[in-house]
Symmetry: C2
Subunit: 275 residues, 2 copies
C-alpha cells in the first residue's frame, strides 16, 4: 500500500511538477461550447484533466463549486474523480470540520464516495475532526494553517503565548502527523510569504498545500523556497482560475494546457534558481 | 420579507418550542423498514419530519450524513428540505468556511440549491466566509464559537489577550451581526455549560444554536437559562440521535415523536422553573 505522501512524491517526480490544478467550475464562467452539453461541469472538468494530466502532480477540486449545482454537481464530481488517472492524487478541498462521528461521515464522503486521496480540514474543532481522515496511511489531509484570503488575519494572527494562532496549528499538526497513520500536511497561502517560512520552520516534515498563486497574486519565489519538506516532498502549488479560465472560447482545453505548462515551467525555473 | 430572526421567533411561538431536531441519517442505523425502500435517507427523513413538524421550531440536517451517500444523498436532502413546512426554518449544518468567491458558491448551494434558511459557519477564515451568507436579511448563520466535542478546547480555549479564543469569536460575531443584513448567531455546545453563560454575556442579542443535548449529555438547565437573547429569541436546542433513533423498529416515527415531545416539554418545564 502506498502512503499519500509517497503517491504525491511519485507523481511530482514522474511529471517533474509541483503544480496542482484547482477544478473549480462556476457555471456562468464556463465556455459556451461546454454550457450547451448535458453535463457542463463534467464536460468542462474532463477537458481540463485531459489537457493537463501529464503536466500536474495533483488535482484539487473545491467541493463548493460542485455542490453549488446540487446533486447533479456532486454526481459530476464523483464521475470526474473516477476519470482522473490513478497515479495522480486528488485533494478534495472542502475544509471539513466537525465532531467525531460526523467527521467520520465526511471521511466516508471524501474517500469512499467521491474517491479522493486527501482532503483539506479546518483545525477549529481540534483532533476530533482529523482522526477519521487519518486512520489509514493511504489518506492525507491538509490542515488550514494560514489561508490566502484578506480576512485570514482576523483569527489566524491572534497572539497566543507570544505567537500567532496559525503557528500553534502548525505545531499541533506536526504532533498529529506523528501520532496518526495518515499524512498530515498544512495549507499556507502564497499570499502571505513571510508566514510560509515561519510555518516551514515549525513543521519541517509536513507537506504544504499552497493556494493563492495566479489570480490571488501569491509569491512564487517563497512558495518554492519554503515549499519542500526536509526530506524532499515538494509543495502542492495550486492555481485554479489562472489555468481553467485561460480561454473562454472553444480552445479552453488547449489554453489551459498552455497556462499549466507555463506555470509548471516557472516553478521549475524558480527551483533551479533557488537550488 | 421576513428576517431569519423573525422566522425563527415565529416558529418558536407557534409551536411553543425551542426544540430543533437534527436530521442526521446514518445508513447502517436506519430501521429495516426504511432500508428496503428505494431512497432510504429520504424515506427516513420524511417520516421523522411528518411525526415532529408540530413539535419543533427548526430542523438541522448535517450535510455530512447526506454527502456520505454521494449524489443520491444530496438529492434526498434537497427533496426533504422542499417537503419541510415553509414556516419552519431549516439550518444546514455544514460548518462552511472558505475564501470569498468560494464562500459565495457555498451560499448558493445552501440557500438556492438546497433551500435552507440558515447555515453553520466556521470562523477560522474571518469575515470573508460570512459575507455572502449574510447579504440578505432572510438568511442566517450560526458561527461556531464553542463546539460540543471533547477536543474543542485545543484551539477554542487558547488564551488571546487574557480571554479564550471562543470569546473573541463571540465578540466578532456581535460586530458582524450589526454590519451585515442577515442574522448572525452563535453555536455554543450544551456540553460546556459555563461557556454558554460567558458567551451570552458577550453577545446578548445573538441567537444561539445549542448542540450536545441528548446523546452528548449536555446541560439543559444552562441551555435554557442562557439560551434566549435579550429581546426574547429563544435558543435552537438541537437533539439528533436521541430523537431520530428512539426506535429501530417500524414504529420509529412515532417513537421519534414521543422523544421530541418529551424533550420539548422538558425544555418548557425548565423554562417555567427558571422564569
Amino acid at each position: 500500500m502506498t502512503t499519500f505522501r509517497e503517491k504525491l512524491r511519485t507523481a511530482q517526480h514522474a511529471h517533474c511538477s509541483w503544480l496542482c490544478v484547482g477544478l473549480d467550475p462556476v457555471m456562468p464562467r464556463l465556455p459556451e461550447v461546454v454550457r450547451s452539453t448535458e453535463d457542463p461541469l463534467l464536460a468542462f472538468g474532463r477537458t481540463i484533466v485531459e489537457n493537463t494530466a501529464d503536466v500536474v502532480s495533483a488535482y484539487k477540486p473545491n467541493l463548493a463549486f460542485w455542490l453549488a449545482e446540487g446533486a447533479a454537481g456532486v454526481r459530476a464530481l464523483q464521475q470526474l474523480i473516477e476519470e482522473i488517472p490513478d497515479d495522480l492524487p486528488v485533494i478534495l478541498d472542502a475544509k471539513f470540520n466537525d465532531v467525531g462521528h460526523t467527521a467520520q461521515a465526511y471521511a466516508r464522503a471524501a474517500f469512499e464516495k467521491l474517491g479522493a486521496d486527501a482532503a483539506t480540514l479546518n483545525p477549529y474543532l481540534g483532533l476530533d475532526t482529523l482522526r477519521p481522515f487519518l486512520d489509514a496511511a493511504e489518506h492525507g489531509v491538509f490542515l488550514l494553517a494560514r489561508t490566502s484570503n484578506p480576512s485570514a488575519p482576523q483569527l489566524q494572527d491572534l497572539e497566543v503565548e507570544g505567537r500567532p494562532l496559525y503557528q500553534h496549528v502548525a505545531q499541533l499538526a506536526a504532533r498529529w502527523n506523528v501520532e496518526l497513520p495518515g499524512t498530515c500536511g498544512l495549507v499556507v497561502g502564497a499570499t502571505y510569504p513571510e508566514e510560509l517560512g515561519m510555518v516551514r520552520e515549525m513543521a519541517p516534515r509536513l507537506p504544504f498545500l499552497i493556494p493563492g498563486i495566479g489570480a490571488q497574486g501569491g509569491d512564487l519565489l517563497r512558495a518554492v523556497e519554503h515549499g519542500p519538506t526536509a526530506d524532499g516532498v515538494g509543495p502542492v502549488i495550486n492555481s485554479s482560475r489562472g489555468i481553467i479560465y485561460a480561454s473562454a472560447g472553444p480552445d479552453f482545453g488547449n489554453a489551459a494546457r498552455k497556462a499549466a505548462l507555463r506555470l509548471r515551467d516557472q516553478i521549475n525555473q524558480q527551483r533551479e534558481e533557488s537550488a
